[in-house]
Symmetry: C2
Subunit: 678 residues, 2 copies
Amino acid sequence: MSGAAPNGTAQAVTHAQMAAALRVLAMDAVEQAQSGHPGMPMGMADVATVLFTRFLKYDAAAPDWPDRDRFVLSAGHGSMLLYALLHLSGNPAMTVDELRRFRQLGSLTPGHPEYGHTPGVETTTGPLGQGLATAVGMAIAERMLSARHGPGLVDHRTWVVAGDGCLMEGISHEAISLAGHLRLNKLCVLFDDNGITIDGSTALSCSDDMLRRFEASGWAACRIDGHDPEQIAAALSAAQTGGKPTLIACRTTIGYGAPTKAGTAGVHGAPLGADEIRAARRAFDWPHPPFEIPGAIAAAWQRAGARGAALRERWQQRLEQAPAEQRRAFAEALAGGIAPGVGDAVRTFKRAAREAGKPEATRVSSQKVLDLLGRAQPNLVGGSADLTHSNNTIAAGMRAVAPGDFSGRYLHYGIREHAMAAAMNGIALHGGFIPYGGTFLVFSDYCRPSMRLSALMNQRVIYVMTHDSIGLGEDGPTHQPVEHLASLRVIPNLQVMRPADAVETAECWQLALQSAQTPSVLCLSRQNLPILRTAHDDDNRCARGAYVLREAQGRRDATLLATGSEVALALDAALQLATQGIDAAVVSMPCWERFEQQPADYRKAVLGTAPRFGVEAALRQGWDRWLGDDGGFIGMTGFGASAPAKDLYPHFGLTVERITEIVRTAVQASSPARREEA
Amino acid sequence: MSGAAPNGTAQAVTHAQMAAALRVLAMDAVEQAQSGHPGMPMGMADVATVLFTRFLKYDAAAPDWPDRDRFVLSAGHGSMLLYALLHLSGNPAMTVDELRRFRQLGSLTPGHPEYGHTPGVETTTGPLGQGLATAVGMAIAERMLSARHGPGLVDHRTWVVAGDGCLMEGISHEAISLAGHLRLNKLCVLFDDNGITIDGSTALSCSDDMLRRFEASGWAACRIDGHDPEQIAAALSAAQTGGKPTLIACRTTIGYGAPTKAGTAGVHGAPLGADEIRAARRAFDWPHPPFEIPGAIAAAWQRAGARGAALRERWQQRLEQAPAEQRRAFAEALAGGIAPGVGDAVRTFKRAAREAGKPEATRVSSQKVLDLLGRAQPNLVGGSADLTHSNNTIAAGMRAVAPGDFSGRYLHYGIREHAMAAAMNGIALHGGFIPYGGTFLVFSDYCRPSMRLSALMNQRVIYVMTHDSIGLGEDGPTHQPVEHLASLRVIPNLQVMRPADAVETAECWQLALQSAQTPSVLCLSRQNLPILRTAHDDDNRCARGAYVLREAQGRRDATLLATGSEVALALDAALQLATQGIDAAVVSMPCWERFEQQPADYRKAVLGTAPRFGVEAALRQGWDRWLGDDGGFIGMTGFGASAPAKDLYPHFGLTVERITEIVRTAVQASSPARREEA
């Protein structure tokens, strides 16, 4: 370790010294950056020291060992605690130079921990409550993977550090309630119970009896002095027994050791300043300069970080001695590849759908695709936020996961969209499964913070979001998405797909599975849609994001661009226009993000040079990108209304007649010759 | 009442008959619509009957009497319960014809209750948990208004019907925790504890001990048989005493009375069918045809609905006898008008800001504006989701509301963005106050479902959202909004404002206050911004949404469009371009929604015919609307990064040099003559 004193022999090192190393690194890095949060790392250093030196199963040299315990810093603003732990315990990437570059461009030590950016960071945290709910997903995945491959290969715990912020956020309730219901007894939450939030004392805003709250949701709960290593160890020990998840409320002093600022909101999110740091160093009996760790303390931390090496080797031996079939299945699940049967299933389904030729809601098509995919891809894990038979998310033969029985493949997430999304992030991050989960598209708003993290973390999480427009009818404007397609399309690295028929639905599912670094949203109709892709075609045409579904007979007079349920309207309008001498192409655009990634030539050929008209039962925002100055848009202009869908489409002007009229008028206006003919 | 039998004399009518009237109307209306949710109204009919006939303070003939009890159907899918109650109790608008037109276009009986559409509906519900959290806001407003105007004018209760769905949603935790903390003892939640969700038994997904959960957050809680009128009455009685909010878990049978479907998920969201309805009629001893209520039962309901008339008259007398000053203050608060001093305050601030001429973060400018507005507009009520001194939301002299003391004007909402937004909806709906509340812009995702309802309900709720771009710096991509401006702009009837300097900040605040039917989001910078509006100007130039901040000297070669912190970059780029012989205008666009509403001539004059370039530290979506085919955009293309803001702007290409280069290249390419000159 750079900066370590030379004398690294195994001399006696106290708990207080090891914890002080964390505290000093945290306060020094924040001071160096002149930005950051020293309070939490200093407050939780004792708990973290006991956990990392005596309990956590990990091998710092191999931070991606599959059977490691997962450590989630839900209170992500305390990132220096995690970076200091990674550094001291011997994570090879986390050098002292990275600590010195805390919060600087390109360092491995960003303001909040970022998964995929820093080895050893299990999940991106910072938006409060997300880590906790993601950890619930990890704990679910652990149990499910263990149920399939046995405790010899999968047997680890999930530890979470959460603060008042995490526990005040609504998502915490969903996560705690779900974890308690499923009896995730290998999950332990270490609550940094410091009585301080940014505004001041927690008494300003919160009077919850936290232990009682967790107990009400089926957790074991206790309170300890978070600065007493023996109390900490006893509580961590106890958390490893019993049949429930555990909350340990650790009474701590935020900014512990800072002589005047400890225990105040002032130490939460600002550098301590030189004077305070000098005094804290004296309090810790720590005469060493910034970023320098005495050899004995460094060595003790390194030994802690290597504690798991032998465990990992034994695990490796068990894996190697396992039957070939088990080894293969385990490796395949973790590798996250797509089974060859998926392509066959999609082609089979498409052929059958074309041959049947029957109108069908894309949510129903999705169900039928899932029946096949579920068989082809054994690590596909479904679920819904209590809309199983509306989202059509349970595939044939999928049994539900139940408390104490994790052999199933379907999760009844309950009416908890936010925790569902975060748990799916956790399942994907843990490895071994590809999660999908359903709700109504309008309720994507309820899980948006977690969807953003799916995208930011490059996780393959598949959101099945049905009832995707006013086409859902009578439930009215509270249930009718109008702005949601646009608001999801704008999230970077999120693939929003809105298939037009059964064939496109199968293709979009295939793309969602193949997109290993990108979450997908499948926007599906409640109402029946005709089969539009009637020609035999084994290619996945949705893969390019948009394609010409109907080409003009001669030179294009207009191009109609549409998605989902409105592609059929656009096609009918093109037929109408043809009778009026206007030659219109129709482009289906199931996935804008994919279309954007196509070569310019392809995009130009699809979009054409004739005036373009967008048709979508949603708001216009974003469409101008495709329409150009001569274009037009037929869609929604505000919220929906409660009525049967058959009445709503005409009410909001989404009819073949109106599309035809708008296109005809515009085309004739832009083409004087044609206008004279007419 | 249309459809009532003629014999309306006061003969003995039983509780069971009155409850049966609700049940039958609900099942018949759903059957007629062939769509809807009969299960909840049938299950909760007994509770609703006892509440409306013996406890609720209301006068059905005057559904907007200010001192009425508020009744919130948080489980909004059970809308027929509310419509049947309004109809039977004598709400003049809710005729039997409206019931017959349940869920039809333009009826007063949409699928979910819609505030502003149906008299007597206190808030729009349907998205689960919203009603409960909105009710918390109503209960806060009641206590605050009572603290100001006395119990003689303000002394009413808030009653909520919530189901398992409401209580599983995360927002319920935030709402319950906040209500318990503030000891909102006039709030009572009637939990429809029927053990059923859409997927089946609640045992599939939830094991919470609900009483214990509420008690942990400082509520009184009990469980009763929700079909026993005496138990119901006793519990409602008890809820009116004591110092805590009350949960009454009402054990009910969903679809009570449906012989084969009661107690199953099958009765939740689908018509019962003719056979089941026939059998249920027999069970209720109800031989009457659909929508026909026997005279005695109708009369008994009418008497219940008129119970409050005398109370209302006495209240009216107290109001008339109150001192003139109190009458005036009460009337002004309820009218929701803007005090004349607001305009003065804004002008004063603008002048001082121009004269000082100092760079300042718009969040800090906002604080200073608030210091003045707080004095000018006494019913302005502030708050923050635990970021008070980051959002700069507490105005000079504002004291905090505390448990048992509602004389303050500032709410420490805690780390509960979602409940904050919903509570602000409730405060606005209740009347008497104009609420604003702060968080970071990126965390608008956490409260988006409630923001959508602010817009759908036309409520003046002001969201103060600071740290509005990568300009926040080191906290990194989890805290840096890039998609949020677009995702908020797409919500209908939501005014998204991003002021460029202190002057625009004051103007935007004025517009937010003046927009009585529209919620606003103020997007404010963490970093300092120079004063750009240096010319003396008492007009509110932001009122038109966009305006020419710098006109070209001659014919425009280009127009730069920018918002917020990037307007200064655009101005500097225009100066650079001028040195290169390119004459660029700069348009500040603080509010797209307002600009869209301007006459076409104004829009054209502002946008000009020269090539247009958007500059915003956010994603492009939506900008193409303003840029046209020749335009360009300088902004973000993905998530941000953790680093000091001064490093991030160059890293992401947001510099004067790059803007200048892009505009120059494009302008010269589009103008061969100029290219030759260059």
